[in-house]
Amino acid sequence: MNIDSIKNGIVIDHITAGKGMELYALLNLDSLSCPIVIGKNLPSGKMGTKDIIKIDADISLNTDILGYIDPDVTINIIKNGQIAEKKTVSLPERLVNVISCKNPRCITSCEQELDQVFTLTDKENRVYRCLYCETKAKEENH
C-alpha cells in the first residue's frame, strides 16, 4: 500500500495499536478538510504493531489528549517533506473538557456549563480524579 508522503503537516507515530481511531475522534480530526491517513496495526520493530495518523496540514494538536490516551506517541512535524521536529508527550497534570465525570452525585452532573476538569493524582498508576468530586476517571469516561 503506497500513500504519498506529506509535505507540510504532522505525523502521530507509535500509537498503541487500536488507539488510532480513538485519537482521531478525540482530536476532532473529522472536522478537518485536509487529507488524513490512519494506519492501523502496522508492523513496528519497537512495538510489534502500531497505529499511525498522518495529517496533511499544519494544525495545532491538543497534546493533553495525546498524553492522556497514549503518552508514548511521537509527534513528527513535517516541513517541506522533511521531519523538522520530533516531539514526545507526557501525562498532563490537568485535563480540561477531555473526559467527563460519570458520578451522578457530582456538581457537573447538574451544572452542564462547568468545565470538566480532571487532575493527575497518581502518576505511577495514571490515575486521574474529578476536580470537584474526586471520582476516579475510568476508560469509558471519554
Partner: protein, 304 residues
C-alpha cells in the same frame, strides 16, 4: 483569600492553631464576644441540616457577628435554576464569609472558585465535611489529650459516610494510629480510601463485621448512621439500616476510658441507654463543633 473545602487543605500546624484557639475560646468566651462585630456569615444550605447550620449560626453570633441565609434549596434562587457560581458571586456582595451545604459533590468548591469571600464546605453530598472533622478532632484532643498512638474503631456506614473518610484522612497524618473498620460487607470503606490514604501513609487497619469482637482494643469508637439519603434503592437501605446498634451489653468489654463518638443525628444506632455512660461523648462533640467553627471563622477572616 482562603476557603476550606477539604480537611486535607489544613496543615498540621494550622490544625494545632485552630485547636488552640478553640480551647482558648472555651476558657475565655468574653474575649471573643465581639471579634466579628460588623461581619456577616451567609449560611447557604441547599440540603436540610439542623446541627451544622445552627452550629455555624451560633458560632457567628457568639463572635458578635450576624447571620443571613437560607435552610433549603426551595427557598433559594436555586429553585429558579440559578447556578452555584452565580449564587456565590451574588452572596459575595452581601456577606463576609459563606458556609455552604449542597447535595452535589464539589458544589462548595465551585462556590469557592467564584466567590470573592471565604467559603466553608458545610457538607457536599457523600464527599467532604471538614468542619465535622474539626469537631471530631477537638473532641479527641479534649478526651485523649493526643492524636497519636490511638486505636480508632469506625462503625456503620463506611462506604457513604463522609465524616468517616475525612476523619481517616485527618488522623492518618499522625503516628501510631490504627483503624478498626467495622461494617457490613455492602458498606465497607471504598477502595480508594484504602489505597490513597491508609496504604499510602502506611497506616495499620483491619476490616471486620464484628463490633463486639473489636470492642476491647478500641480507644475511640466512632459510630455512624446508615443514611437513607445516600441510597438510590430503598430496599438496600431497609436491609442495612439496623446493622449495628450500640447498647450497654456491647460495651461490657470496652476500655474504661473509651471515647464513644457519633456525628449525629442518631436514629437508633446508639441506644438511648448508652447516653448515661460517662464514655458517651457525642453531645459534647456537637458542642465542640461550635468552638471549632468559631476558630475557623476567625482564621478565614484573618481576625486574631
Amino acid at each position: 483569600m482562603r476557603s476550606l473545602i477539604d480537611i486535607k487543605e489544613l496543615s498540621l500546624e494550622e490544625l494545632d492553631s485552630l485547636i488552640a484557639t478553640a480551647l482558648d475560646i472555651i476558657d475565655n468566651p468574653q474575649k471573643y464576644s465581639e471579634k466579628c462585630k460588623g461581619k456577616k456569615l451567609a449560611t447557604l444550605f441547599f440540603e436540610p441540616s439542623t446541627r451544622t447550620r445552627l452550629s455555624f449560626e451560633a458560632a457567628m453570633y457568639e463572635l458578635g457577628g450576624n447571620v443571613l441565609g437560607f435552610s433549603e434549596a426551595s427557598s433559594s434562587s436555586a429553585a429558579k435554576g440559578e447556578s452555584v457560581s452565580d449564587t456565590a458571586k451574588m452572596i459575595s456582595c452581601y456577606a463576609d464569609i459563606i458556609a455552604m451545604r449542597h447535595p452535589k459533590e464539589g458544589a462548595p468548591l465551585v462556590a469557592a472558585m467564584n466567590a470573592t469571600i471565604p467559603v466553608v464546605n458545610a457538607g457536599d453530598g457523600g464527599h467532604n465535611h471538614p468542619t465535622q472533622t474539626l469537631a471530631d478532632l477537638l473532641t479527641i484532643k479534649r478526651k485523649k489529650g493526643r492524636f497519636d498512638n490511638l486505636t480508632v474503631g469506625l462503625c456503620g456506614d463506611l462506604k457513604f459516610g463522609r465524616t468517616v473518610h475525612s476523619l481517616i484522612s485527618a488522623l492518618s497524618r499522625y503516628a501510631g494510629i490504627k483503624f478498626v473498620l467495622i461494617s457490613p460487607e455492602e458498606l465497607r470503606i471504598p477502595s480508594y480510601v484504602k489505597t490513597d490514604v491508609l496504604d499510602k501513609n502506611g497506616i495499620e487497619y483491619v476490616e471486620t463485621t464484628d463490633l463486639t469482637g473489636a470492642m476491647p482494643s478500641l480507644d475511640i469508637l466512632y459510630m455512624t448512621r446508615v443514611q437513607k439519603e445516600r441510597f438510590f434503592n430503598e430496599e438496600d437501605y431497609l436491609r442495612l439500616k439496623d446493622s449495628y446498634i450500640l447498647n450497654p451489653q456491647k460495651l461490657e468489654n470496652a476500655k474504661s476510658d473509651l471515647c464513644i463518638m457519633h456525628p449525629l443525628p442518631r436514629v437508633n444506632e446508639i441506644s438511648v441507654a448508652v447516653d448515661k455512660d460517662p464514655r458517651a461523648c457525642y453531645f459534647e462533640q456537637a458542642l465542640n463543633g461550635k468552638y471549632m467553627r468559631m476558630a475557623l471563622i476567625l482564621m478565614l477572616l484573618g481576625i486574631k
